[in-house]
Symmetry: C2
Subunit: 411 residues, 2 copies
């Protein structure tokens, strides 16, 4: 099964939005059907570009998934491109049109003919109903290649793929895939530990650093795939040693929540520059409530003092971005929540706010654990978002280190 | 200038990671050089795939940017693919090799020859130094096409592109681009308002819904581009009316922070299921400190009661996910922070935790503004991350509505 993905949209080739649909679809094809896509192509909205990309991507392939270009506006041209390609007319789907008109009436918006764009179907294609939004999907063929086109809005695309596309895609022979997550060691070291496994072509073993952890992917195909993938996963687990964090694509938040839970410990946090990103990273983990009690986003100095108990003299003499303030945030969070472990973050995420001796990117991290205080001063590079993300990762690494009885300075 | 982007990595075609590098690069080429890329291609790590994709993407183009496949592990094969393509040897860059060895010694890790992978350069290519990590970039040509290859790790890729690639890329004639952001109205309505503008081909006007706002992109090329783009932007602003939120690619957080600042109002939040994501979305905005005082991540019930003052009888009789709890969170946040406006969120993000009458996706949102309480009960679909994201967007929409003296029910 030769499969390919095409994402359509000027916003995707102009830097406005990253194409996340294709990655999601590729993951589904692999996990649910054992189909590894040959690649992904992103093109703009212009009619000729869409038409050209459809033709190129379908050529010599069995399956093409298309996202985007099916919306209500003038720059949504996948329908037109398919109609032009086959020289067929576009006709509105009667049922969907009635439903759309009813919805527009409900909302009290005046009807306009252009609104019907999203329910038009090129002759020879079959409409795919959209349970979430208004734009219909399309199913048809370009030559020998089966084509499914879905709206680019992720919630609509995902719902339609699961309900109407996936059931129509056959399994691609025997296959098995495993993912392992490693934490606490850099990608190069993980790659080194797995070198023997990676040099073999079957099963295919790949390593990627992502958001503070390293993921190891194993894919076996053909007869006995399950057993070979399982054996390779077991070998990888042994080779990783203490860096092994678990089977599955875990996030750094997952790893921290698991390790806290294994040890029966609770956590609370107090953040300034990261402004809730540390708490949110933990709460993103299902079941986080078993270990995470809560957090303070102590953004204004008054909140640091009143909510978390950072002493006013620390704020006045050392400043809000200081070792002492970070330690007081970590201690205050743990004590006010009655948690075993407290983490504190304060820093200058930028772009403004830097001062001599405390440039943009300066972040003080602290941890309070079993009556002991730990501190780390960092200087992160990048924009506001990069600095905040790096601070959250470092804070979580520090927690892992403490749980392994290492000093947070190690990594 | 015909430009194209190629992203290399099995992780990108297996669903493990979305390709965000290409979008960032496309945005930079457009904003800094007026170059609209023709498209983006993503391929896997296998040597033949990389080789084939390099050839296809370079064919007939003037510029090819490649990301990924330059790291330290066995599955990083862009160097090998280029060497194989041109039948040239790979040689380690002396200076980079010495620096890498010194760094490995510093870290106390044993040296292994495989570590030298990332400083190897195919003969005929020039190494590009990496100020952030160890992997060198590459500059060279495939036929007439200029090629720059950079590591896929975003922080390394961005730093190297800015310092070493961008200065070598020429401007692509006269061009001007504007982005406007609309908020408070759905994409279809925004598209309808701008239909006249979008039907013209020059300047090119596109509309995309993204994370709670709608972005309008205007691109003019050729003589007098600046004036034509400016005139179109002004026309779009008028057509958008009260949905116009500002020039530039604003996030929903940006819009809320701006509107609060214009009115001289301050905000505090208290969150349960979103766990800091609302606060973090606001703190992501540079200058948020002028309006955002802080937030409580009141995840455990005890935190809701002790930190924000949610009455115990509310938690016991109505439950933590209730209208009353949400209202108490909003009021408590505003009062404890001394803020003009308070927002509260409590809900069941899933996958577990649903109960009869309160299924997964149930979220209660509340706002406290000038002594008045506002409430909205929602049921969001999707996974934990979808529910949390939708709750944050709805909370921010509610704030915008209150500032425009509308009831939050409107959207």
């Amino acid at each position: 099964m030769k499969a390919f993905i095409l994402a359509v949209g000027d916003e995707l080739i102009s830097g406005a939005v990253a194409d996340t649909d294709s990655s999601w679809l590729a993951g589904k094809l692999l996990e649910e059907r054992g189909i590894r896509v040959e690649g992904i192509r992103v093109c703009g909205d212009a009619l000729e570009e869409v038409r050209g990309a459809l033709e190129t991507c379908a050529l010599g392939r069995d399956l093409l998934l298309v996202t985007g270009g099916l919306g209500p506006t003038e720059d949504d041209r996948v329908r037109e491109a398919l109609a032009a390609f086959f020289s067929v007319p576009l006709e509105a789907d009667g049922e969907a049109l009635e439903r759309l008109k009813a919805r527009i009436r409900e909302r009290g918006i005046a009807w306009s003919e252009s609104m019907a764009r999203q329910v038009r179907v090129p002759k020879g294609f079959r409409p795919l109903a959209n349970p979430v939004g208004q734009a219909l999907g399309l199913e048809g063929r370009i030559g020998e290649c089966r084509v499914f086109a879905l709206p680019g809005v992720p919630s609509e695309m995902k719902a339609m793929f699961q309900a109407q596309v996936l059931p129509r895609i056959p399994y691609a022979g025997e296959h098995a895939s495993f993912v392992l997550t490693a934490a606490g060691e850099p990608e190069a070291l993980v790659g080194e530990k797995l070198r023997g496994l990676m040099e073999k072509k079957e099963p295919l073993v790949g390593v990627t650093a992502q958001a503070g952890v390293v993921r190891v992917r194993i894919l076996a195909r053909g007869d006995g795939a399950e057993a070979r993938a399982r054996a390779a996963a077991e070998e990888a687990r042994r080779a990783l040693g203490e860096a092994f964090a678990g089977f599955g694509a875990l996030t750094l938040g997952d790893v921290v929540v698991r390790r806290l839970e294994e040890r029966g410990l609770t956590l609370a946090v107090a953040e300034s520059c990261t402004g809730g990103l540390l708490a949110s990273t933990l709460v993103e983990v299902p079941g986080a409530s078993r270990v995470f009690l809560g957090g303070f986003v102590a953004y204004a100095n008054q909140a640091k003092e009143a909510w978390v108990g950072v002493p006013r003299e620390v704020l006045e003499s050392k400043g809000a971005v200081s070792r002492e303030a970070a330690l007081a945030l970590a201690r205050g969070a743990a004590q006010r929540a009655g948690a075993d472990l407290g983490a504190g973050i304060t820093g200058i995420a930028g772009p403004g706010g830097g001062v001599p001796g405390k440039p943009v990117g300066t972040v003080h991290l602290a941890w309070f654990f079993r009556g002991e205080e730990h501190h780390q001063a960092c200087r992160f590079s990048g924009d506001r978002s990069d600095v905040r993300g790096a601070a959250v990762r470092r804070s979580l690494w520090g927690i892992l280190d403490l749980l392994c009885r290492r000093s947070p300075e190690r990594i």
